[in-house]
Amino acid sequence: MSNQELFDKLKDTIVNQNINGCAEATQEALDAGLSPVEIINDGLSPGMKIIGDKFEAAEIYLPQIMMSAKAMNAAMEILLPVMEAEKGEADEGAGLAITYVQEGDIHDIGHRLVTTMLGANGFKIVDLGVDVPNDKLVDEVEKNKGKKMLLVGSALMTTSMLGQKDTVEMLSEEGLRDSVKIMFGGAPVSEKWIEEIGADATAENAADAARVALEIMK
């Protein structure tokens, strides 16, 4: 089987929510000599991109996207030990993702999805839950200073989105801004807003969030 055929097989198992098939295809790709990074970037991630697009177009729904995430998770359970062995004990994988919903907001469907996607994509997760005040975020970042760290905040409402600006400012005031990458998501969040408040990235949906997160943590 050619490399492209292996990548297509990996992609198809994600798109078709084939959990066992995804694990098998991942092992097959490793056995064929492909690296974990190639398997993720050229096989699994394109599959998640298709899933994200289908979810966005309302062609598939939450259970299906979660099954695809589970397939991705099955692949990552095989790939992570290989990646750790290749890079040594000290490597932190994709990094530590601190996920939360902004203070004043309890809408957590998107937050949960993104948290799951990041976990499935090799991030270690600290889930702070909903209605999280900025003080608590700053404490958590301070506690993990020195680690490869990503802050992932969600807000459904415009009113709670405004708190994201304070988050960035408070981290800057505490001298922690350079210790962490910051992603914000949620219905009202736009690229323009991200630029205006000095965060690092946003994404259209949960699957895209995982792709963007991996990209900015490179």
Binding site: A57, A58, E59, I60, Y61, L62, P63, Q64, M66, M67, A69, K70, N73, D108, I109, R112, T115, T116, M157, T158, A187, P188, V189, S190, K192, W193
Partner: protein, 355 residues
């Protein structure tokens, strides 16, 4: 230099746009709706008329005389006495006073009674008070007075209700268990809503308003449609309004069906026939406002979606036009210029039967 018009962003902020920019945004919003819903775009004449409405110089605009439509009201009297940081203005008053203010001071065409939490489930422990209040209101009022609340199926999951939270189960990849929790919650929601409305009908209610159907996904609509069906069967003359929570019915379960149609992923023009089939008299379609886009973009999009829903619906459509829906900015005190323009556009271009 081209003339610039005073307009709004989806969050209500003042912006200035040229006519060219306005038409471009109207068309872009329209195309987004047409693409997502696989529905027809507006005609060139309709786009021109929309542009005329948004560029009218007066602060407030109005429908042409003779084209007026009934304006129905949800959230009960909470907008008068509510003081929970929502759209309520915190005037201490009884609900009878609030309802009569709507009828006699504001000129509302219909009104509804609701309680401060505004979900059906918490009505159960206070049902006797709701019945008494309905009786007193009906003795004093003339406009149709419905009982209204949100199905809000989320209240049936932990920590608020008896069933495991599908959000937690999904996160643990327990997909089937999550779907079963939704099915159980839907059964209870249907049962509770019917029980509550049986009592309020015995107290003289004109009918029921299901407000924000689908807020907890397809299970929420499944339960609401079955409640509508049961109420219609028991009370052939009950007035039933079925108002949606969002433009797209979220597929949290993904496989629930009503009358052979999968509920997940339905757009307003697909939701309306199902509400009618279940037995609703009036359907309330919703299109959400994007706060990062301009008011012409949002209005072009909303009018396109709603026009298709009005055409597909066998029953009257009263479009939802509160804050953050129907082309109205997502803001606690939506600006009158934006509300008025969106209102006129929905009546004259989308052809709604009411608001």
């Amino acid at each position: 230099m081209a003339t610039e018009y005073k307009l709004r962003m989806g969050d209500g902020k003042r912006i200035f746009m040229t006519k060219e920019q306005i038409v471009a945004d109207l068309k872009e919003g329209m195309a987004d709706a047409a693409d997502l819903g696989e529905i027809p775009e507006l005609s060139e004449d309709e786009v021109d008329k929309l542009a005329d409405i948004v560029t009218m110089p007066s602060r407030m605009v109005g429908v042409e005389q003779g084209k007026e439509v009934p304006v129905t009201h949800d959230i009960g009297t909470i907008r008068i006495d509510g003081d929970q940081g929502n759209s309520g203005v915190g005037i201490p008053s009884s609900r009878l006073v609030g309802a009569m203010m709507h009828e006699r001071a504001f000129g509302a065409d219909t009104m509804e009674l609701g309680h401060i939490d505004y979900s059906y489930k918490p009505v159960k422990p206070v049902i006797a008070q709701e019945m008494q209040t309905m009786e007193v209101c009906q003795q004093n009022m003339i406009v149709p007075l419905l009982y209204g609340a949100m199905p809000n199926m989320g209240l049936y999951y932990t920590p608020d209700g008896p069933f495991p939270n599908p959000g937690d189960l999904m996160k643990a990849f327990k997909i089937q268990e999550a779907q079963e929790a939704m099915e159980h919650a839907a059964e209870h929601l249907t049962r509770d809503t019917v029980w509550i409305m049986q009592r309020l009908m015995s107290s003289g209610a004109d009918g029921v308003n299901f407000d924000t159907i689908g807020a907890a996904g397809d299970g929420d609509m499944f339960a609401s449609l079955h409640a509508i069906e049961a109420l219609r069967k028991q009370y052939p003359d009950i007035y039933i309004e079925a108002g949606m929570a969002g433009e797209l019915l979220l597929g949290l379960h993904g496989e629930m069906e009503y009358d052979g149609t999968v509920l997940a992923g339905l757009w307003p023009h697909q939701q309306a026939p199902l509400a009618a089939k279940a037995g609703a008299n009036v359907f309330g379609p919703v299109v959400n406002t994007n706060t990062s886009k301009s008011s012409p973009w949002n209005l072009g999009r909303a009018v396109t979606f709603i026009k298709a829903a009005v055409e597909a619906s066998p029953i009257p459509c009263h479009v939802n036009m509160g804050m953050g829906v129907g082309g109205i900015p997502m803001f606690e005190t939506p600006t009158i210029d934006a509300v008025s323009r969106a209102s006129k556009a929905m009546v004259e271009i989308a052809g709604v039967d009411g608001i």
